[in-house]
Symmetry: D3
Subunit: 245 residues, 6 copies
């Protein structure tokens, strides 16, 4: 069940049986020569939809632009400042709590969001902690790619060149979601360099085509499907534990 395709009476009925919701959260940022700019939003969106359809939980709208300042050296990237993202997440959380939700699970697709989502949660809880009142809701984030067993699965599918940005796996997932958007691009070098980075200029200097440690030319829709299904299964388990807490 997807919130954006539901009516409010349908949500009202859902809230009778569950107070939980899953929000896909990602980024709009370069993903190398053959990766989609929307990769990090598309992956959690498609995985959450799969899982929600199967397990019957509600999936909210996708938070599709996140913290991507380091990718701004590549056109098409859009970023929020971390403080803007904290404000936006808190408005989403307040709204959902106002509607009756008490368990909000953010399924994240972008490593660069993790810290800011955590800070946003602390900002949210701090209002209750400073007021001396018990907070009636719980917040959780998890990356689809670090759900139990997922890293192992991805590395087994792509023994070489899975990488850490514009990974073979995430590109596969997007090709599964949008087969027509698959792009056939030769990679040079085959496997991109690895390492850390600071701002956008530093990133572009270190990773000239945007990839980190990956060879996403291996990506296929078929492999993406396999990954989506495995991740959806793991997500269902994790969500059920969280909603029941």
């Amino acid at each position: 069940m997807q919130l954006h395709q539901a009516s409010w009476p349908e949500i009202e009925a859902y809230l009778e049986r569950s107070k939980g919701i899953v929000i896909p959260i990602g980024s709009t940022e370069q993903h190398g020569p053959n990766g989609l700019l929307g990769t990090d939003a598309i992956c959690p969106e498609v995985i959450a939809k799969h899982a929600g359809d199967e397990a019957g939980f509600l999936v909210g709208p996708t938070f599709n632009v996140g913290c991507a300042q380091h990718h701004l050296g590549f056109p098409g990237t859009i970023t929020l400042r971390p403080t803007t993202m904290i404000a936006a997440l808190n408005d989403w959380i307040e709204s959902l709590v106002r509607c009756g939700f008490q368990r909000i699970y953010f399924l994240n697709g972008h490593g660069g969001n993790i810290a800011t989502i955590d800070a946003a949660f602390a900002e949210s809880y701090a209002n209750w902690s400073l007021d001396g009142e018990a907070c009636p809701y719980r917040l959780k984030q998890a990356n689809w790619f670090t759900l139990p067993g997922m890293m192992e699965l991805c590395r087994s599918i792509f023994p070489e060149g899975e990488g850490s940005h514009a990974t073979a796996s995430e590109v596969s997932v997007t090709y599964y979601a949008y087969p027509d958007a698959a792009k056939d691009v030769a990679m040079e070098p085959k496997i991109a360099p690895s390492g850390g980075f600071a701002d956008a200029a530093d990133y572009r200097a270190r990773f000239p085509d945007g990839r980190i440690g990956s060879d996403p030319s291996q990506a296929t829709a078929e492999k993406g499907e396999r990954i989506v299904k495995a991740a959806a299964a793991k997500l269902i388990e994790d969500v059920e534990v969280f909603f029941a807490r």
Copy 2:
């Protein structure tokens, strides 16, 4: 061409021939007994995609949660505070300008966003005006439902009960976009009451099922298709003028 399905080299190539982009912007809010919570985001998204595919301009990611405080009396609604939305829009604008875009056209699907988008534009321009430097980019917003001829068209398709919120037209557009999400719900009264509102409690008291002045039980995917095509044609004209300015 849709940014979230493009790679950065494709955007780089696009920027060689155009500095313009269209951003669908909407809201996630109740749309009456048979309308989708995502209606105001879905409508500009589908119209912009249609137009962009035909005319070859770039469509960015959808800004899918806007100013909807007055709908919070109905579950499923999510709002940004206006100041949060101004901050977020300015981060999007700064990012797109940094990438090389100079004409940013927001195709809006929600009346409650108009003022805040305008304020966000003034906030953006103010930085340049206070610095005493000429701003190198231009911003524009337009509602899909007030593009030239659209109001007339919608009222000709729905001579009675088009209304002003959860309109027969916008629900039709979403049914065209997501036929499986169409909902068959009887409306009582047939045509909802009209009028103004203040906060969420006031809104719910005046408009108990969320509609204003509309009878969206008339909505069909076929009518939605007609509206989308007409709006896309008008959008293309408007975008071309704006990009050429």
Copy 3:
């Protein structure tokens, strides 16, 4: 009755009979070769005073600097950023509500303020809507120049060159308010160009002497008086409806 000339016991007594107040709100910005920088604040101030004196309602202090970034190419202009204005308006509103007011009517003199005032209202209501409590007060804005019949009146007094910025009407109103400040300046061209604008540099390039579409050399104190009296009468009607709601 004007708040700034009243004592607190007088306001306490007023609140016994009415919970309503009118706040003139304008801008400090260039108004062409013969217009006063304070025009947009002076006009609602003098109209509100007239009306308040006649009808016995309370007029608060004038919010005299607004959103005028586009006029910063002309010396003497002062602007608030929209987000600053939203913060300031919310502090005014909270204060007035704290004092017991429940109907706050902003009589606006500046087109550039409209969006930001609307956004400020949504910001104010959002606090209640997100808390799930009914907001006990109501906010309204209206431009003096769009009160019922005013546009027609102004265009009948100035059939040519009324314009849309530094209008013949608004300059007349200020000459009525401050006869000694009337300035005799020849206009070249007689009627200024019309059109849209973005930032301050863009504005100054399009409208070199600051006027848009107007010939304010026609302005006189006598015509101003006529306009003030007509606007005050319309304001009284509108305020009474709003206070009674």
Copy 4:
């Protein structure tokens, strides 16, 4: 010369001979049983106008709502939060500097504003200091009632009951400015209690009618005139030194 009654070409001409401006800054807050709510804004406004007319310097619009949280126990009081006031002052300063002003002198009428104005100045300078660039403008604040000799003068006119809030002097100045607004109210006790305060509830408990240490029933327009003229003379001296620095 008053900015709000001048045209932009007049300001342009003024800037040829001076880069200085005086901004009256006050508050809208209770001033006891017979004092005007606008007292703290009216006093610097009338003194600055007097001085500006005589000495030929420019007086800007009045910043008429300041930091008055402690007076909110009395109806008619309006406050800005200190952080809002800092933001607003910085927008005013940026605008004036953008226009060409380099010496901005705030003539203050309210003790409760002093700290926040100082903090706003530090906020403004900090931008330059952190950038490592020399700030091209200078900011100054002075209270009209602490200009050289003014305290002595006021206490010589009112040997008893001058006080520190709703003072006999400031009420006199407003009666001189608005003779029709003079109010004849018996004071009980004749001289109000003195002391410190924290928030609005604390203030109202300590000072039940709003006065601190004063007997403003002694106020007359004639005494007000004497005070205005003396303060204007001192202001001229101070402003000339500041503008020449």
Copy 5:
């Protein structure tokens, strides 16, 4: 008793007998050729510790970076923007109040902090005043160097060259606190110039080695000890009055 060396059960026990706490607050900024960058934090810290140990009141952690934009022309200086400091102070205050404290006394070591601390207090009280509720706590700030009799004592110890920044007294206090950090530097000129300043560039131009009006080469740990003991005695008196209020 120092909070940072206490356990939470010890604080819980302390709160049984007192609701008061003293917070040393200073700055990290240049203090001339032989003064420590931490001077303004160290002085209130050591005085508060002395006093707290003797009188048994609780001393909180030191707020060690304050408003020092004007010193940024000298390396080692760190500043907060005033609005940042207001936010931080309000978080400290909210936390302490949440823990049960009702009297928070800031012992300040830096003149440049005074205005911003005052503004922060007004920001804190404003929340209660605007809500119409009585604030249950009280806030106070005092500079160690203006406690009763301290200015006289310091000027009697250093009849010449006490000065107003990098004073002989404050440098003495830090040498008493950290004898090994005492620095033997010749001053040229012996007594530094005096006067005002604006931003960092202005400050450095007027006061090339950072001192204002002082000759801190007279500083000794012995004199520092005398000052600390005198200030601690005065602090105890002031704190006891404040806690008892």
Copy 6:
């Protein structure tokens, strides 16, 4: 070398040979029945001082209050909201960069700070990335307790009951720093429960005396000394690599 005990000419000289600085950063929060409220600030402070003294690098003032909302159920805890902490960190960073530093290494003592420090770094870099300029400085954070080999060392010293909050190791480090502050308290149960938490009420319910998984009654100053020396050695290695980058 410690910045707060240095003079500005000493920092100027230091900058001739190094552009790097280490900032200890912690929290003021409950640390169980025998742990100091300042533990998380004291630990990085003492380790950084040790290392800086040995290796000759500069140690800045300690950022002593961090993100501790979850500990507010225990008196003595002070928190910043994450957004406040981001603002404060950015002011510190801007100041240090303005002074000439180009490598800023935050040695952290509190797990709850990690996300917010990361977000603050992204906020800082974003300004450069959005401007399209290369950021001239680099930021790094590291926890003293996760420096290479430290976790192993701590668990070898305390094979049972090291825990994850109010750990035996961190309490030992503070006892080494402040032997007089060592507290002899029996723990019940011997080893505290483990698990996650949300807000302050949730934390206190799960961990009634504040500890998580630890038995800090094993803490001794001697063990603390061993830990400090080991951590200092590892810190020197890590700092040298970072400064040289």
